[in-house]
């Protein structure tokens, strides 16, 4: 073995590998070098807050220093003032209420429909064979493109808004549900069959709870989609609503108000995410 070998052979590979076939070496006692660690996720609670604070500071700074026109990028202080104004005159609550109702109804309808179809596709091969291509064909259809047709089909009232959000939520829910059912361990189903459990009981006691984690993960995505679509939905003759508010602020070129509305949407996203996390922790404590 060449003598260019390092003196430390412990857990450390030799820097220059051997080329020849000399005899082995002997090394003096030395500690084993640590080479593990990393690739795990540790929690840093403060980091998120720090990041938000830094982001706001930079944004405010850019505006204060006149690097960006207040029309193009109003400073967070202006956005904050606009938001405070919305709180003060009660319009925030009015708009929020209208949007929340639409999101809630649209999301629930889309989710129920999606879970129903998803369950059918998860359980029946024929439904699956029919459904998969239909879903991949209909999923990528942009809801905003269909707004004129939605008005014709569902009118200009709440139904068309529910439909916009509902259809947006429906397809991802279908996909999440049938994938979740695919991931229910087959051995549990075979076990239930071997104990003679009836089909309905298997569905209720095994397939449904087993698919729950996947379905809840889908909720995370569909909640974001519902928030995104509330703006599209409120393009159709809405008087109140965060989406309508944002659109109107845009029409009046009030960028600070616009961003205040966007901020509200973002906060709603964070709030829904938190609720889902709590729900997951409760419902999926068995994992």
């Amino acid at each position: 073995m060449p003598d260019s070998l390092p003196a430390s052979p412990s857990a450390m590979p030799p820097a220059r590998p051997p080329a020849g076939g000399a005899a082995g070496r002997t090394v003096a006692a030395q500690p084993v070098r640590f080479r593990g660690g990393g690739f795990t996720v540790k929690r840093h609670g403060w980091a998120a807050l720090a990041a938000f604070a830094a982001l706001l500071a930079v944004w405010e700074g850019v505006s204060r220093l006149g690097l960006a026109s207040p029309l193009f990028l109003p400073p967070p202080s202006a956005v904050g003032r606009a938001l405070a104004g919305m709180v003060a005159d009660g319009s925030l609550w009015l708009n929020l209420k209208a949007s929340l109702a639409r999101i809630a109804v649209g999301w629930v309808l889309g989710t129920l429909g999606g879970m129903l179809v998803g369950f059918a596709m998860g359980i029946f091969s024929t439904a699956r064979a029919v459904g998969v291509p239909l879903v991949s064909a209909f999923f990528p259809i942009p809801k905003i493109a269909l707004l004129p047709l939605f008005i014709l089909w569902f009118g200009i009232g709440e139904p068309s808004k529910f439909a916009t959000i509902g259809f947006g939520v429906f397809f991802p829910t279908v996909i999440a549900t049938y994938s979740a059912i695919d991931s229910v361990p087959r051995n549990l189903i075979r076990m239930a069959q071997s104990f003679g459990l009836p089909w309905g009981a298997i569905l209720r006691s095994i397939v449904l709870p087993g698919a729950l984690p996947g379905i809840l993960a889908g909720f995370r995505i569909t909640a974001s989609i519902a928030l995104i679509l509330v703006v599209a939905a409120e393009m159709i003759g809405a008087e109140y609503g965060i989406g309508a508010f944002v659109l109107m602020a845009g029409n009046l070129m009030q960028t600070d108000t616009l961003l205040a509305g966007v901020l509200v949407l973002s906060l709603m996203g964070l709030a829904i995410g938190t609720v889902l996390s709590l729900l997951e922790r409760r419902l999926l404590n068995w994992r």
């Binding site: 071997s194 104990f195 003679g196």
Partner: protein
């Protein structure tokens, strides 16, 4: 209950896994089935339990069914097959739920199972909180709750470490001493077969055919005694001889992708 397997053949699409199996289990008998990986042992058990529909041949049962039996042919699984979202007692309750039992009867059956398997203190625990051995004890308690006439065990101990395996074998022996349930016991482990079975059925490599049925003369109760060791070593030698070449070849076979 007796099990009568005749002319049994099974194919998955174009892969024949069992070929002409003829087998009879006597009332209260424990038959161990050994054979190389992939030879169709689990399939055989599945057919016997009505979970897999055989391609040809028949499996029939006859004989005594114990009092209060809800599911005459009952499985115990290698991977325990516990619902991770149910507590220990609810996992046992699962198999009683769709039967019209009185609440008292249901409670009584669950409690008996829990106590017999030393699970009483863990009845509110979730499967994830249990060790492997405890989980299989839940599986056994669940099987006992339906008062089976015949047990089908598919490598019930092979997911456990060697120490827990030893402990659970004692549990099984105790169980059979009391219940005299007929059992079909699939295993890879010669030591398990030698400790628990009345007869050992050696299957050939896929397609599984019966190579030999070996009877262990020594009664189960006396197999731990020194005097029994000679006979057991001899049976072991014979079984290992039957197995080794097949096992080696099966191990080197590339699985179907």
């Amino acid at each position: 209950m007796r099990l009568l397997v005749s002319e049994l053949t099974h194919r998955y699409e174009d892969l024949t896994v069992l070929d002409g199996i003829d087998l009879t289990l006597a009332e209260g008998e424990i038959l161990a089935v050994i054979g190389p990986s992939g030879c169709g042992k689990s399939t055989l058990l599945g057919i016997a339990g009505g979970i897999v529909a055989p391609t040809a041949g028949s499996v029939r049962v006859e004989g005594a069914v114990p009092d209060g039996c809800l599911n005459p042919i009952t499985f115990i699984f290698q991977d325990f097959a516990l619902l991770p979202w149910r507590t220990v007692e609810d996992n046992i309750a699962l198999v009683l739920e769709h039967h019209r039992l009185s609440a008292a009867e249901r409670r009584e059956r669950t409690e008996t199972g829990l106590r017999r398997m030393g699970l009483w203190d863990f009845r509110k625990a979730l499967p994830k909180q249990l060790s492997g051995g405890m989980r299989q004890r839940v599986g056994i308690a669940r099987a006992l709750a339906v008062r089976p006439a015949m047990l089908l065990l598919d490598e019930p101990l092979s997911a456990l470490d060697a120490q827990t395996r030893e402990l659970l074998m004692d549990d099984f022996l105790g169980l059979w001493r009391r219940e005299k349930t007929t059992a079909l016991y699939v295993t890879h482990n010669l030591d398990e077969a030698l400790r628990l079975a009345d007869r050992v059925c050696v299957l050939s490599r896929r397609p599984g055919r019966i190579r030999e049925l070996v009877t262990i003369e020594e009664p189960r109760e006396r197999r731990q005694e020194p005097s029994a060791q000679a006979h057991l070593a001899e049976v072991r030698e014979r079984l290992w001889h039957l197995m080794k070449a097949e096992a080696q070849m099966a191990d080197r076979e590339i699985a179907r992708a």
